[in-house]
Symmetry: C2
Subunit: 311 residues, 2 copies
């Protein structure tokens, strides 16, 4: 039986994936959606945002590999076969990219970049009082590969770092909170809140008016999780009321962000077009090839998603 | 004989310095310019930008302490007594602040913040190709406390870091250049040039059209040294011709930057009002007190400026 991999993504990287994977797996039958060929040949799928029902239409599918760190874009398919393992792409290069982005944006908030930009627009030259990093309380939502790496890198700059996860975790030098009560406790002591959670039914809309009210006056947020973690209207209201100071957003409930969104021109929002940690074919190809080899050799798969937890 | 310290600065921190120093040196006679009292009482001066001739008018002056890392603002006084030692303020807190600023701005250039800001103004949503940090060649002018700390911190992010100093230096993992030939060689391999030099007659105007021409097409510069290191008109010309891509400026030839300067509104310049590494009384007070104790006790002074080198 033929072993075909079906690739499906909205990015223009199909040829880089094909050539990269064919170099590592010379007999690979690489197919790019919508050119599926015989559905029964497809044994594995490498996907971002697959159309609902696509994966269910492949009778011999043995593995779904996410093209990103998250799998919400796969698990939200109501027809997703229950018995096919889904694996996450865990690429240290993406973790490093994410931490770079987070460190850069935390430094900008801490060193008052928005206030200085405001002064600049008015041609005002004034040194602002500067609190040291140890007086800035960072709160990280999510302490997986991304959250824990960012926590340690921010810690190295001297920030007062805490983190929250669903289940108890321990990270040296980082105050770790967990569970519902822990979330409220962490929010109450957070000046900069960073969302690095997976998107699940429990975390959808976690950044809402209620969470913002639990943050101290003048706090800021950074969302590098998923757009649906954030209730955008609640954020704009919290910024405009002055309760929150600023926000950094890399992800949005609808991408590309619609032209009518007030976020495009909001002076207290720093925004980027979902570039914090892009999938990087040069490093990710070997990781994906390893998933495929494990499937073909009948070895244990890695980074398999727990369908119950949804990450 | 009375032991008076004369304080002179343009910042509003006189009272913080007075209370901080009086706590450490209870019998200190702290005087704030222009309330000099009897000039012969003044044994030490703690100054930023002292009026020319002020220090020469103090007959028993035994020590001049700079309120900043640089001493150009003292040495440019033509009446400065030749036999009075001048000491620099070397505060690790300021070095840390400077490296934070440098790391933040390098990350912004590397992660294409200006290009994304440009897209945002046009409401364009497009992921740009992103070179890894190892393909970004950083060149640091000056490898003293500031330059070497910044070099190591940038190195930790994976950048390809080189540095240049007047005399040969060695820093592990950093390609070190020196002398006039070394300068040209380093510029030719620099994508982001960072000026952390002391201001001396040799380094005045070092960032000029000639230096920019020696940089590769598309390079960017960060000036956190002194405003007079940079020929501002040459920078604007190099940016507008497209030879340089962007600049980050924290210091200017005239401060506050005059309202008529084109820098205020230049889209390829990130600017801040001389805040990269501000003198921080809470940490600096003990360092200044130590200079005073050494003078009074007749012990060896530290961080004394070499008048010939001018730093």
């Amino acid at each position: 039986m033929s072993f075909a991999l079906l690739y499906r993504s909205s990015t223009p990287h199909a040829e880089r994936w094909r050539s990269g994977l064919e170099r590592l797996i010379p007999d690979l039958d690489f197919r790019t959606y919508p050119e599926i060929g015989k559905p029964e040949d497809v044994r594995a799928a490498l996907v971002w945002n697959p159309p609902h029902g696509l994966l269910a239409s492949l009778p011999n599918l043995g593995l779904v590999i996410s093209l990103g760190a998250g799998v919400d874009h796969i698990l939200n398919d109501p027809h997703l076969p229950h018995d096919v393992p889904v694996v996450r792409l865990v690429d240290p290069h993406m973790v490093v990219q994410m931490s770079e982005y987070v460190v850069m944006q935390v430094l900008r908030l801490y060193r008052q970049d928005l206030a200085y930009a405001e002064q600049r627009r008015e041609k005002v030259w004034r040194e602002l009082p500067q609190k040291p990093p140890g007086e800035w309380r960072i709160g990280i939502l999510g302490l997986g590969q991304y959250g824990s790496d960012a926590a340690l890198k921010l810690k190295a700059f001297g920030f007062d770092v805490a983190g929250w996860s669903r289940r108890p975790k321990t990270i040296e030098g980082v105050r770790c909170y967990d569970g519902a009560a822990g979330l409220t406790a962490m929010l109450a002591r957070t000046d900069i809140l960073i969302c690095l959670l997976p998107l699940t039914p429990e975390t959808t809309g976690i950044l809402d008016a209620r969470a913002f009210a639990a943050l101290p006056q003048g706090a800021s947020i950074i969302n590098v999780g998923r757009g649906s973690h954030l209730v955008e209207a609640d954020l704009v209201a919290a910024l405009d009321s002055g309760h929150l100071y600023a926000a950094v957003l890399d992800v949005f409930s609808e991408e590309p962000l619609p032209a009518a969104s007030p976020i495009w021109s909001h002076k207290r929002i720093i925004m980027t077009p979902h570039i914090a940690a892009a999938t990087n074919p040069p490093t990710a190809v070997a990781i994906v090839a390893d998933h495929i080899h494990r499937l073909r050799d009948g070895r244990t798969l890695q980074h398999v998603v727990d369908r119950e937890r949804r990450y």
